[in-house]
């Protein structure tokens, strides 16, 4: 009998081009995605000396980071200096013969929404992109992680990366999720419980009955915040749910190739008895919807919870961090989170902008109205998601509730307050995004991370709300 291996070990072993000693390997990269912000810089690595792209067919590109999300947008942006990134990606992909899902292309969207939706991310593949949330596509069983733009140039030129082997962790989410509790709540709770540094150095496999019960879109959300857990990568082993999701997607294998791929994928899950360097078990059956109170994703609690007291932190550095977070967020120790008045609500980003997210939010919003003084925005994750949502009438529900219904892009999650693509100074915002960092959604903006239904319920209430107590 061969030794029992984890899924990570199987995939890693199948990607070793050269073992260079001390746990450092040259690893093959199967899929590479570029966007305008980092992709444009990656092309610079091919200029001097001039180098070709080794496998143009394995790299894909789209526009998402710098382009605007307002209807009627174009190839220019009000972000000062942003135009050069848009033109840089378009010119670079043309020069090197790479596929680009350009602004008007029906496949345009946020990279991590697009790559599983199109069947570009596949189980057991390695996939990288110059964006930290690349770990999202671990939701279909890919080993995926974010890289810098110089590393992106290395992938373009060599189709490989030099990597040290991570340790392995398995997080078992067990039990049945209560109504209104979703993948976003699971991952926020995990980070809150273990810490924002908890996954550091690990390839993290999410498993357990609660994960098996999630659809692929929920698994993508779960894996999306792997980087907020500081994991090297996060993934869910492929199963029937994964295969039915991928079958027929434009860039997924077809015919005999599909049969070969499916046989390979079926053998990927961790063997019984495989050993992990760390295992964590989380019981989900009593979990409340989660919301962050601070400026690190670990600073979170149940929506029925209270702001903790920094005085109770043992480590002085951690205490000062909490004090700074409370000062930035304009909160006091002991304050209840539910009921805090908000000025903004955002549904979008690579975390929570897929069709299931929009459907869940729409079910809460239906028939309701966001009060005056709350700026509410929805940016669907991709042009395909947007069109599918519109075909179901979801856009009409959002609009009727007072939400702006925009085009797909990263926008309110990363533009940092550029005019028309951010919130105002010291505004309190409930957001389906992944980062409550200082200034992430605009200078001084106070972001509370939560699930789509919590954001929808809060938008209607004009304050942070417990969706479980919403009228039926």
């Amino acid at each position: 009998m061969p030794p029992a291996r984890t899924m990570f070990e199987k995939v890693w072993d199948d990607h070793v081009v050269a073992d260079l000693g001390q746990d450092t390997c040259l690893i093959h990269i199967d899929r590479h995605f570029l966007h305008e912000l980092s992709g444009t810089m990656s092309f610079k690595e091919l200029d001097d000396p001039p180098r070709p792209v080794r496998h143009p067919e394995l790299t894909f590109a789209t526009l998402d980071h710098v382009i605007e999300t307002l209807p009627g947008r174009g190839y220019t942006t009000r972000i000062p200096g942003g135009d050069g990134f848009i033109s840089g990606l378009r010119e670079g992909t043309r020069k090197h013969g790479l596929r680009l899902f350009d602004l008007e292309h029906p496949y345009q969207g946020i990279v991590h929404v697009v790559s599983p939706e199109l069947g570009i991310a596949l189980p057991g593949t390695t996939l990288v992109c110059g964006d930290s949330h690349t770990c999202t596509v671990g939701g279909v069983g890919a080993l995926a992680w974010g890289i810098g733009s110089t590393e992106g140039g290395h992938v373009l030129a060599t189709q490989t990366l030099l990597l040290t082997r991570p340790q392995t962790m398995r997080v078992n989410f067990e039990g049945t999720l209560p109504t209104h509790v979703s993948a976003k709540d699971l991952v926020l709770h995990l980070i809150g419980r273990i810490s924002a540094d908890g996954g550091n150095g690990y390839a993290v496999e999410y498993a357990g009955s609660a994960v098996r019960a999630l659809g692929v879109e929920g698994r993508l959300t779960l894996c999306n915040m792997g980087i907020e857990f500081s994991a090297r990568m996060t993934f869910v082993a492929p199963d029937d749910t994964t295969l039915s999701y991928l079958a027929g997607r434009p860039f997924a294998p077809k015919g005999r190739a599909w049969e070969q791929a499916a046989a390979y994928w079926r053998a990927l899950p961790s063997d019984r008895g495989a050993r992990f360097d760390r295992e964590v078990r989380i019981d989900c059956s009593g979990l409340a919807p989660q919301v962050t109170w601070g400026t690190s994703p670990e600073q979170e609690t149940g929506v029925d919870g209270h702001v903790p007291d920094p005085a109770r932190a043992a480590d002085p550095v951690a205490r000062q961090g909490m004090e700074r977070a409370l000062s930035y967020m304009g909160l006091q120790p002991g304050q209840a989170l539910a009921g805090l008045p908000i000025e903004g609500a955002f549904i979008g980003s690579c975390t929570n902008s897929r069709l299931d997210d929009l459907r869940a939010a729409a079910a809460v919003l239906k028939g309701g109205r966001v009060p005056a003084g709350v700026k509410a925005i929805c940016t669907p994750g991709s042009t395909q998601v947007k069109r599918a949502a519109e075909a179901e009438g979801i856009d009409r529900i959002f609009r009727a509730a007072g939400f702006e219904w925009r085009e797909s892009g990263c926008s309110f999650c990363m533009s940092g307050g550029v005019k028309g693509e951010g919130f105002g100074v010291q505004q309190r915002v409930v957001s389906t995004t992944n980062r409550n960092f200082e200034g992430r959604q605009g200078p001084g903006v106070r972001s509370h991370l939560a699930s789509p239904v919590t954001v929808a319920a809060s938008a209607l209430a004009g304050r942070i709300a417990d969706v479980r107590h919403l009228r039926a």
């Binding site: 980092s38 990134f85 030129a157 550091n200 294998p253 390979y264």
Partner: protein
């Protein structure tokens, strides 16, 4: 790539946990198709008050001698978050070529080695001990980081050894270009792909979409 061998100078003790790359350089400061010229945007949200370029005298790097810092001391999970390589470029442009912390965001850690920068990993107690000595001297006492011997020398002369994979160490010491180094293995890449294509043809035969 610029070599890194040894560095002696002012160390700035930014002893906070989970300093994210949005704090190191905010999104709006990234908009330059360039790998240099980001010093002014470094820690912009903390360095300047009210969104103007007016320095906040309370922030560490606005005070002497930390303005001249070449080393940064930090808490757990330094440079977590976004993959923006500008975080490394902004530190380097400011003059900081070495960070000493107990752990790092993994993307920043990898980016350092592509930019002639050294991320030293030491246990938190050792980073705090070095930071305390630096603070005691008002930042005047220098810290030395030597990559040949893989040691950090604190102001009082105490030496702390650190480890680093040989591959990273050699690349920094010799200023190697990573793509050129990897292309020396071009035959192994080709051999791997031939083997792998037989096992996983579906990886290489991408449908037209």
């Amino acid at each position: 790539m610029e070599r890194f061998t040894s560095l002696t100078g002012v160390a700035a003790p930014l002893m906070r946990h989970n300093v994210d790359t949005d704090a190191i350089i905010p999104g709006r400061e990234l908009m330059k198709v360039s790998k240099t010229g980001f010093a002014e945007g470094l820690f912009a949200n903390w360095r300047y008050s009210d969104g103007e370029r007016k320095e906040d005298p309370g922030f560490l790097l606005n005070r002497s001698p930390y303005r001249q810092a070449v080393i940064l001391l930090a808490g757990h999970n330094f440079a977590c978050g976004s993959s923006r390589e500008v975080a490394a470029w902004a530190l380097r442009d400011f003059g900081i070529r070495c960070v000493i912390a107990p752990s790092y965001g993994h993307i920043f850690h990898a980016n350092c080695f592509r930019n002639g920068m050294l991320p030293v990993t030491l246990p938190i107690a050792q980073v705090e001990a070095i930071a305390a000595q630096v603070e005691q001297s008002g930042g005047q006492q220098p810290v030395t980081v030597d990559l040949e011997s893989c040691t950090v020398t604190a102001p009082d002369g105490q030496r702390f050894p650190f480890t680093l994979a040989d591959l990273h160490r050699t690349a920094l010491l010799e200023g190697l270009d990573a793509i050129s180094s990897t292309l020396r293995h071009a035959d192994r890449i080709a051999a791997y792909q031939a083997r792998d294509r037989a096992r996983r043809p579906w990886v290489y035969d991408v449908p037209a979409g």
